[in-house]
């Protein structure tokens, strides 16, 4: 399953840090964050629950960049 979410983040460097954080979240097969369009594309693993995975992903993102948000 692939989904795209709008995100909010301020700098290009932080965006790539967020991307790495989402990639490391359990249940995420792959992720890419486009800083120019502010879109986060997440490919979930089979059977993963979108909501719990995304909550964890956001928590991890907040850890590297306090001031960010993902709409899901």
């Amino acid at each position: 399953m692939k989904k795209t979410y709008p995100v909010e983040v301020d700098c290009a460097n932080c965006a790539s840090k967020m991307e790495d954080a989402v990639k490391g979240t359990p249940g995420v097969r792959d992720a890419s964050l486009n800083f120019m369009t502010l879109k986060l594309k997440v490919e979930f693993e089979e059977g993963a629950d979108e909501r719990t995975v995304m909550e964890e992903a956001l928590r991890r993102c907040r850890r590297v960049e306090r001031d960010c948000s993902i709409e899901f």
Binding site: A12, N13, S32, N34, F35, T37, L38
Partner: protein, 617 residues
């Protein structure tokens, strides 16, 4: 559309302004003789905290999590270092300028994001699903293929489909860059992402949302940044070693020279060298570098898609910019891809128009492309009783009674006439009255496009075709293609292309319509699919997709690519150059911390403005 400050940016602006006011008050108080030095210092500290408390906080959190070398950390260390050497104004100024820079960056990025967003704002939000005649507004993702939807004037077509009722004109400019509206009526295919201009239509969807043109295009543009070009990859890698390297230099600058000077008999002068080391920390911030290059490429890709050219990755812009040879497929690329009557030769007393009329009427129901060309050339359809007894003879032609005379239209095989395209002989009552030649017309713009490519230095041009040599050569003459490889089977084309690639010292562009040359599109250094709107195979195989079949967009794509690369190089050289100069001046003690910040902010703003130029061609 005008860009507006976000709430966050407004809040930041307020903080900067109030901190600046407090800072100014600190300077004034510092000038008053006899006043305790701590009064002005406390003003500087207050200003420092107003504008920088979040930076300090984030830096602290970063340290706890082991995230050193981020910009918050660098700024916090640099400014706290200034406080340690009792340079309170410097500490406040560093933080102030840093935040001004961040605000500038945020506004500049917001602005260009805004202009790019308007280029890609083609996602439809809603579909009017018809169930039992009632329209219900639903998410386009929830509409299965084969459903009926209503599309009202002013709405964006949400899904690919076929019109079953109504007629309208469609604005496809967001997809093709072509501003002329397209007429569509019942039975015509309708492409998602275009805007319904005039009439309400009912559409039977043929694809789900995920498979529809609009989502494929969006996916393509949004994914394009993940394929990085060399300059982008370079700058990302460079930034990763740059910051630690400059930090190490800063440490060395703090530790080594004072010791050396001391050994040579001088004083310790720690604070001076600490100041220079802190300047280095400020210069080590990588954001201007990291930001400006990807932004340039995104601008270039945005500019291309605005012109109906989809580029699947910045790496293809790079290859396109270096291309030195171009290979064209003939049919549908250099030529229109459909037959048109190009010549009517009359033999005997009958007028040209009448020859066409008899032929067109006799071919009234034939599906052969030549028949369609003849009908189109004559223009009018026969009356109800004008044509009787139509007999089609496969591979030979057609026989019919037209206006009570016996007419045959059949392939003319005499070799001298059958030079270009297809010639048919027309007989009326057994007597040959004329010959009609139909051929695939060369596009009006083909020659101009090839000239433009040559002007851009893409000097070698080739044409691949399955057609006979003589008709291929005629097309080559008309368009100015350098060399021709004719009579190729679809499977031979790739082999021929590979030979050309092997013989070329620079990247080779292949432009085709994707109908039987998907392997070539995939094999070329840059595969350009023409007229790809609705052709999934072509979109899949190509690296660059031209939505309509306007061949002039091939040189346009090269021009956009060149400009983007030029701007990217300018930005790299400029940003690195200024950083290098600052490092030297900082080491010599000429440039202080806040000059370094100014340089950083200045570089970034100029780089971002320069990158914004890539949006326009």
């Amino acid at each position: 559309m005008k860009y507006r400050f976000t709430k966050k940016q407004k809040r930041m602006l307020c903080r900067i302004l109030s901190a600046a006011a407090v800072f100014a008050a600190g300077i004034v108080l510092g000038r008053i003789d006899g006043l305790n030095v701590w009064i002005s210092r406390s003003f500087f500290l207050l200003s420092y905290l107003i504008v920088g408390y979040d930076v300090l906080w984030d830096a602290l959190r970063g340290i706890v999590r082991g995230q050193v070398f981020d910009e918050n950390f660098l700024m916090a260390v640099a400014s706290l270092g200034a406080i340690v050497i009792s340079d309170y104004p410097e500490a406040a100024a560093v933080m102030l300028f840093y935040q001004v820079g961040e605000l500038f960056q945020s506004v500049a990025v917001g602005k260009s994001r805004h202009s790019i967003a308007s280029l890609t704002a083609i996602r439809p939000d809603v579909a009017n699903l018809l169930t039992d005649g009632c329209a219900e507004k639903v998410d386009p993702e929830d509409v299965p293929a084969g459903s009926l939807i209503a599309v009202n004037p002013g709405e964006r077509v949400p899904l690919d489909g076929v019109i079953v009722e109504g007629e309208t004109s469609l604005d496809t400019s967001a997809l093709t860059g072509e501003s002329l509206p397209v007429e569509a009526k019942a039975g015509d295919a309708i492409v998602s992402g275009s805007i319904n201009l005039t009439g309400a239509v009912t559409v039977r969807t043929t694809k789900e949302f995920g498979e529809s043109t609009v989502s494929r295009i969006l996916e393509l543009v949004e994914d394009s940044v993940s394929r990085k070009s060399q300059p982008e990859a370079f700058i990302t890698k460079f930034a990763k070693i740059y910051t630690p390297a400059v930090c190490a230099l800063a440490l060395a600058l703090f530790a080594v020279p004072p010791v050396v000077i001391r050994l040579c008999g001088g004083g310790w002068e720690f604070s001076e060298w600490l100041r220079r080391a802190l300047t280095f920390l400020v210069i080590s911030c990588p954001c201007a570098l990291v930001l400006s290059i990807p932004m340039t490429f995104f601008g270039g890709i945005g500019c291309a898609s605005h012109n109906g050219i989809l580029v699947k990755g910045s790496n293809y812009l790079e290859t396109l910019a270096r291309a030195g040879a171009v290979v064209f497929d003939k049919t549908g690329t250099l030529t229109e891809g459909r037959f048109a009557v190009t010549d009517v030769t009359v033999c005997g007393p009958m007028e040209e128009g009448d020859v066409l009329k008899y032929a067109a009427f006799a071919e009234a129901v034939s599906t052969h492309p030549v028949a369609a060309a003849i009908r189109a050339a004559y223009g009018a359809a026969p009356g109800k009783d004008d044509v009787r007894d139509i007999k089609e003879i496969a591979g030979r032609g057609v026989e019919a009674t037209v206006l009570d005379r016996r007419v045959t239209v059949g392939r003319d095989s005499s070799p001298d006439r059958a030079k270009v395209g297809v010639t048919v002989a027309v007989t009326v009552d057994g007597e040959t009255v004329g010959y009609i030649t139909a051929s695939d017309r060369v596009k009006d713009d083909s020659k101009a496009a090839l000239d433009a490519l040559r002007g851009l230095g893409v000097s070698d041009s080739y044409m691949l075709t399955g057609d006979r040599g003589d008709s291929a050569r005629l097309v080559a003459e008309k368009t100015g293609v350098g060399s021709v490889r004719a009579e190729l089977l679809p499977s031979d084309k790739v082999g021929e292309l590979e030979k050309i690639i092997a013989g070329s010292s620079s990247p080779v562009i292949y432009a085709g319509d994707g109908i039987n040359d998907a392997p070539s599109l995939a094999r070329a250094d840059v595969g350009v699919a023409m007229g790809a709107l609705g052709s999934d195979a072509a979109i899949e195989a190509a690296d660059v997709v031209i939505m309509d079949d306007d061949i002039k967009k091939v040189p346009l794509a090269v021009r956009i690519a060149r400009k983007t690369m030029r701007i990217a190089k300018e930005n790299i050289i400029f940003a690195l150059g200024v950083k290098a100069v600052c490092l030297i001046l900082g080491a010599l003690g000429v440039a202080g911390m806040w000059i370094a910040i100014f340089a950083d902010v200045g570089v970034m703003v100029l780089a971002v403005l320069n990158a914004a130029r890539a949006l326009r061609i």
